[in-house]
């Protein structure tokens, strides 16, 4: 993973859209993301938690082709850091196949809540 701090390596924006709905940020990822894009998304979301006073982050990962150890850890770190700043994170859209792979990988996911889909995820955040 190579993250450039400087402007030397400009690249296309992360293929994900972020909507504000009340105090929640609703994130849908459009395609597979590489490590750098995942990190950029993580940082962007943390910034927004501060800027927009968000209380909840809902991330739809259905478009991610895999959730490998790096992706899981990046999401878990996001959830932890967001929590430190007063926002809760829920991940939705994990397909049965991806779930199976995650179990075999046996990566722990502390602090990260998951729900089946957007609707249930929103219920988690408002309850």
């Amino acid at each position: 993973m190579k993250i450039d701090e400087g402007p030397s390596r400009a690249r296309a924006p992360v293929p994900a859209s972020i909507l504000s709905q009340g105090t929640n940020l609703i994130v849908s990822i459009h395609t597979a993301l590489d490590d750098e894009q995942l990190m950029l998304l993580q940082r962007d979301l943390l910034d927004r938690v501060g800027r927009q006073r968000a209380k909840g982050i809902l991330i739809d990962v259905a478009a991610l082709d895999v959730l490998d150890s790096f992706a899981i850890r990046t999401l878990a770190d996001l959830a932890y850091m967001a929590q430190l700043r007063g926002a809760e994170t829920v991940v939705v859209g994990i397909s049965p196949e991806v779930a199976m792979a995650m179990v075999r990988l046996a990566v722990e996911m502390p602090l990260m809540r998951t729900a089946l889909d957007l609707e249930e995820g929103l219920q988690c955040l408002t309850s």
Binding site: D65, V66, E97, M100, A101
Partner: protein, 361 residues
């Protein structure tokens, strides 16, 4: 420009006599190099036509010399064209369609020079064989009877000679010299698709280390598309985005084999784990995906190799919870749990190779 009297084309027909006088000499020059009588006729006519076309620019007394040089060049360019026609893929430069266009002429001249340089670099046996077959038009049976061999053996030698010529052609065309003693043998093994020899030479490892060979290999395969060998997909890995590409390609191959969505995801996830280490720790590497068959079963074979610092203690790296200074584990134990077969070999200072397999249930 000097003041000597010039022979002009428009001056009249009396110069046709010159041509008539030139013809036997041109025929001798061509005949000494080309065996096929039809080709000899064509080349003689072509030479004379060019002499006529150039006559206005040439001193009368240097016409014979000009004719001889033209004849020799035409023979050489016919050799080029004939080698091309026989195996179009190996010269890697598009045929100039219009041979009369000035650009095509320049291309041909450069092309000829490259081919000649390449031929000169070949071992004598290869060169003589190619010239006998491609230029003089001798068939394999004739060549075989000439040296007490068999047509099959001659054909095999021709195949290798052409493969070697492709390599020398590229060195000449790219104006490169092989940086190591290993380069020529490796590229020749690749050019002749000799997998065993490639393995003996560790061609894959050399290609990762040697940028010259990597570049020439890409040119060798340029006409054969991404899948250079049947059922083999190669993904060069240097950046984060390549990890995504590698696992997408793996999905395509796995889909071809008929894997379920779950198994495709397991394979893609395992590849993601091992490929990330190439980007993180090594300069560059590659992922090679191959369809495999054993009896009635099918599967996917994955090799992820890199040129990098290597892993000092591979056993330790395979233990859960092992993590590097970056704070992340290598993901290797996880990848192993996703696949049916997993093997890690690493030499400190040289690089790491992970070999994995997944079989259809």
């Amino acid at each position: 420009m000097n003041g000597a009297p010039r022979v002009r084309n428009a001056a009249g027909t009396h110069h046709d006599e010159d041509l008539v006088n030139l013809e036997p000499m041109v025929r001798r020059v061509v005949g000494a190099r080309v065996k096929d009588p039809h080709a000899v006729d064509d080349l003689v006519q072509e030479t004379l036509a060019r002499v006529v076309a150039a006559r206005s620019r040439i001193e009368a007394d240097s016409l014979p010399q000009y004719a001889a040089v033209t004849a020799r060049n035409l023979v050489a360019s016919m050799a080029t064209r004939s080698i091309r026609a026989r195996e179009r893929s190996h010269l890697l430069v598009d045929d100039p369609e219009d041979e009369d266009a000035p650009v095509a002429d320049v291309l041909l001249r450069e092309e000829r020079h490259i081919v000649m340089t390449a031929l000169a670099k070949l071992p004598d046996a290869d060169r003589l064989l190619l010239l006998a077959h491609e230029v003089e038009g001798q068939d394999t049976a004739t060549i075989a009877s000439g040296n007490g061999s068999t047509p099959g053996a001659v054909a095999a030698r021709l195949f290798r000679a052409r493969a070697n010529l492709r390599v020398e052609y590229l060195f000449a065309a790219e104006q490169l010299e092989p940086p190591t003693d290993r380069c020529r043998p490796v590229l020749r093994a690749i050019s002749s698709a000799d997998r065993r020899r490639q393995q003996d030479l560790d061609a894959a490892g050399h290609l990762l280390r040697c940028t010259t060979c990597a570049r020439l290999r890409a040119l060798l395969g340029a006409r054969r598309g991404e899948q250079d060998e049947e059922g083999v997909v190669r993904v060069p890995v240097a950046r984060d985005a390549d990890v995504v590409l590698a696992r997408q390609k793996a999905r395509e191959v796995a889909a071809e084999v008929g894997f379920s969505a779950t198994d495709m995801t397991l394979v893609a996830t395992a590849i993601s784990e091992v490929t990330r280490n190439i980007v993180k720790f090594a300069e560059r590497g590659e992922v090679v995906l191959t369809l495999i068959r054993h009896e009635h079963r099918q599967g996917i074979h994955v090799v992820a190799r890199d040129v990098g610092p290597g892993i000092e203690d591979p056993e330790e790296a395979m233990r859960d919870g092992f993590s590097t200074c970056q704070g992340f584990g290598l993901g290797l134990p996880g990848a192993k749990r996703l696949m049916d077969h997993f093997e890690l070999t690493s030499n400190a200072g040289e690089g790491t190779t992970v070999t994995m397999e997944k079989w259809l249930p």
